[in-house]
């Protein structure tokens, strides 16, 4: 049983549920106490020890019956209710068939279906090994049915009925037989579906090359597949929690600031004015940010993760305003700052405002727009963060504006997804921008981005 549970945990992990070693041990302990006789208790014990997030319940509910189910409902025998004569008739009629349809009808009438090994073999033949998503189980099951001859079943069954009628079996007995066959057919399909589901889950668990969580954080953002981006989005949540606690701790342990005379006197009234507790004026340590993001297609994921991190960490930032530029610049703060924001839909909003235009990027022009309309967003406390590759499409670079922004704000930081080697090649103006920035950080993957955001929050 322990083996089965360990396999199940492996399946859960492959489905994206995080299960630690300690939790696996807890699960085994819990089962040791609860026993396995009562399935409901068994399930509840496993779930309480292994799944710690509500969104993972679904994966658990899907996998549990696959690993601990009976393998589907059993088949029943059609011979049980028959008189001896009728049994002989049926056997005779069946022996006239041949090939796989005979095997299939044998299963459906005798009540002795394929064994687990046979089912496994058939699933392999149907190509189950090629798939790793539960959505594809249906397709494999259908292929298995074809291979077993389900396609001819209706036709052959009608023939069989005719034959039995000719041989003199009563209508009543035939109806009964058909009823049993139909029930068995459904049961067999269910068995196959469960077998396929299990094999797919195991296959997925066996796959070693899947990058998960922290490994993915080091994969370049422009090389990610859709699925990996989805996985990273989950990872971002964890990251946010991590960054938040670091920022909060740093703020608490940071320099406490100047002595607060008024506060101290007030706090020490209860000790008769003896200054036992000292009060300090807290220095404002939360940074105020202005983000200017390139939203051209090449920057999609960098900007997405940057925005997610920034706005999930809003409570650690005193003020954050964000602007998107492409061939024009618009403020997008309101799209992202709602508490329950769906980043994906926020991005399609942005896309609507700034629709795709080939070779459209105009960084210099966008900076001019920022200068004309939104300069008030930048004051001596503001950290200006430019997120972009500095590719300007051979438009005027307007370095003077960037230099001015750097002077007006507390500091100016540039996050670029391109490595130094690419700066200055083609239409890249990075070489001209870089010297006027306080810092240029290369963010190729989520890990680098996270450390960049952490630095921003630290304010140094």
């Amino acid at each position: 049983m322990d083996n089965r549970i360990v396999e199940f945990i492996r399946g859960l992990r492959a489905a994206g549920v995080r299960v630690s070693l300690a939790e696996s041990l807890d699960a085994l302990d819990a089962i040791g106490i609860m026993g396995i006789r009562d399935k409901g208790l068994f399930r509840a014990s496993l779930r309480a020890t292994l799944v710690k997030e509500r969104k993972d319940f679904q994966a658990f509910e899907e996998l549990f019956p696959l690993y601990f189910g009976s393998g589907g409902p059993p088949l029943q025998s059609a011979y049980g209710d028959m008189s001896e004569d009728e049994q002989k008739l049926l056997e005779a009629a069946l022996s006239g068939l041949s090939g796989r349809i005979q095997g299939l009808l044998d299963w459906l009438t005798s009540g002795e279906g394929p064994t687990k090994e046979e089912l496994e073999q058939m699933a392999k033949q149907a190509g189950v090994d090629w798939f790793d998503s539960p959505d594809q189980a249906r397709w494999v099951t259908r292929r298995m049915m074809q291979q077993m001859g389900f396609g001819q079943l209706e036709e052959k069954l009608a023939e069989l009925v005719e034959k039995l009628q000719a041989m003199g079996m009563s209508d009543e007995a035939i109806q009964k037989l058909l009823g049993v066959v139909e029930a068995n057919r459904e049961a067999l399909v269910e068995q196959m579906a469960q077998q396929v589901g299990l094999q797919i889950a195991q296959e997925r668990a066996r796959r070693p090359d899947d990058l998960h969580g922290s490994d993915l954080m080091h994969k370049p953002l422009d090389a990610l597949s859709e699925r990996e981006v989805d996985m990273l989005r989950d990872e971002v949540k964890r990251l946010v929690a991590q960054l938040r606690s670091r920022a909060a701790l740093r703020r608490r342990r940071g320099h406490k600031g100047k002595f607060d005379a008024r506060g101290t006197i007030r706090a020490n009234q209860r000790y008769g004015g003896v200054p036992i507790e000292l009060k300090m004026k807290k220095r404002k340590l939360k940074p105020s940010l202005v983000l200017i993001c390139d939203v051209s297609e090449s920057m999609r994921y960098v900007v997405e993760f940057m925005m997610t991190l920034t706005y999930q960490l809003q409570d650690q930032v005193s003020k954050a305003r964000s602007f998107a530029f492409y061939y024009d610049l618009v403020e997008i703060t309101s799209l992202f700052s709602r508490s329950e924001v769906d980043i994906d839909s926020a991005f399609s909003e942005v896309r609507k405002i700034l629709p795709y235009r080939p070779y459209g990027t105009d960084l210099g022009g966008s900076l001019e727009v920022f200068y004309d309309k939104h300069l008030s967003a930048v004051n001596h406390r503001t950290t200006v963060v430019m997120v972009g590759d500095g590719r300007n499409n051979y438009n005027p670079a307007r370095v003077d504006l960037v230099r001015d922004l750097q002077k007006r704000g507390r500091r100016l930081i540039w996050l670029t997804p391109e490595t130094h080697a690419h700066w200055g090649t083609g239409d890249s103006d990075m070489m001209t921008y870089a010297p006027v920035c306080d810092d240029v950080v290369v963010v190729r993957n989520l890990a680098q981005l996270a450390s960049a955001v952490d630095k921003l929050l630290a304010g140094d």
């Binding site: 300690a22 609860m34 309480a48 020890t49």
Partner: protein
């Protein structure tokens, strides 16, 4: 202490708490594995109630720590009672003079005073807060840490330390180890993600709104004065409200409040007038009330169908 799962359900039931199979399993596991429970779910589904009932059913005292933003160790664990220390110093001035009278130099006096320091940092002046109380208790207790999601992240980390080995070091006194490991229940309304480490240490319990029949049973148990016919109508209405798009859907506690209000008003059916008068018990936002009134009171469906 519970003997087995059936015992959990029965004892909790005796205290008017209807525990689902899941709840009773988790409670029993928590007791046998000595692990804290983390209960999540919407507000007002009886997470806090579970801890209270747990304590009552087993006869253990309940110690509650309510979390809020800015909660720190001195409010959760222990604090020195400065004022009392000051008062004692004042009152003991004469004795102190006797002790220090014979000393010749300032250094000697300070040394002598240091020897007596233990007096001022002893159990007498220690103000144990809920966590320390739970650890110092002579009998096992149920420790309820309510709404942990409201506390700061640092506090969560600190709590983790306590929950892992149930001992704490007070610099002036030494290490205090729990005499009995308390049964711990943490609740969270999910306003923020809790840390992985905390979740890993706990058994996880998700408490959702009850199904119609479960809620009906709860109402019957807690407000037996309400006629069963009325209870059915009331619960059906509440379940209907939960399916609507409201700012705050009514929870079990609000259903119970409403049921009590219906009893107090002596209502014999849920008609438009009763609805209008009592809807504010269920719904806490003006916009929700108008929305519900329009939906429930407008057409011929909803609670209207119950009108005689």
């Amino acid at each position: 202490m519970f003997k087995d799962i059936g015992d959990v359900r029965e004892k909790l039931g005796r205290e008017d708490y209807i525990a689902s199979e899941e709840i009773s399993t988790v409670v029993y596991l928590a007791q046998s594995l000595n692990k804290p429970i983390l209960a999540e779910g919407p507000a007002g589904v009886g997470k806090t109630e579970l801890a209270k009932t747990w304590a009552k059913a087993t006869g253990m005292p309940l110690i509650r720590l309510q979390c809020y933003e800015g909660l720190d160790e001195s409010k959760a664990l222990y604090e020195w009672e400065y004022a009392k220390q000051m008062l004692y110093t004042q009152l003991l001035r004469d004795t102190l003079r006797n002790v220090l009278g014979e000393t010749q130099s300032l250094a000697e006096a300070a040394g002598r005073l240091a020897e007596e320091e233990d007096v001022f940092f002893s159990d007498n002046f220690l103000l144990p807060r809920p966590l320390l109380q739970a650890m110092m208790s002579d009998e096992p207790v149920v420790l309820l840490i309510d709404e942990i999601d409201r506390a700061d992240v640092e506090f969560e980390a600190f709590l983790l330390e306590i929950l892992s080995d149930f001992q704490v070091t007070i610099p002036e006194l030494g290490t205090v180890k729990a005499k009995h490991q308390p049964m711990v229940l943490l609740t969270s309304n999910n306003t923020r993600e809790l840390s992985e480490a905390l979740k890993r240490r706990c058994l996880y319990l998700y408490v959702d709104y009850p199904r119609l029949d479960e809620e009906l049973e709860i109402v019957r148990l807690k407000v037996p004065e309400l006629s069963s016919d009325m209870a059915k109508q009331a619960v059906a209405t509440v379940q209907q409200l939960r399916n609507m798009d409201l700012r705050k859907v009514p929870s079990i506690s609000e259903t119970l409040d409403w049921a009590r209000a219906l009893v107090a008003l002596n209502a014999d059916s849920i008609d438009e007038k009763t609805m209008r008068n009592t809807l504010t018990v269920l719904l806490k936002y003006e916009s929700d009330v108008t929305k519900a009134q329009r939906r429930l009171g407008g057409a011929d469906d909803g609670p209207y169908q119950y009108r005689r």
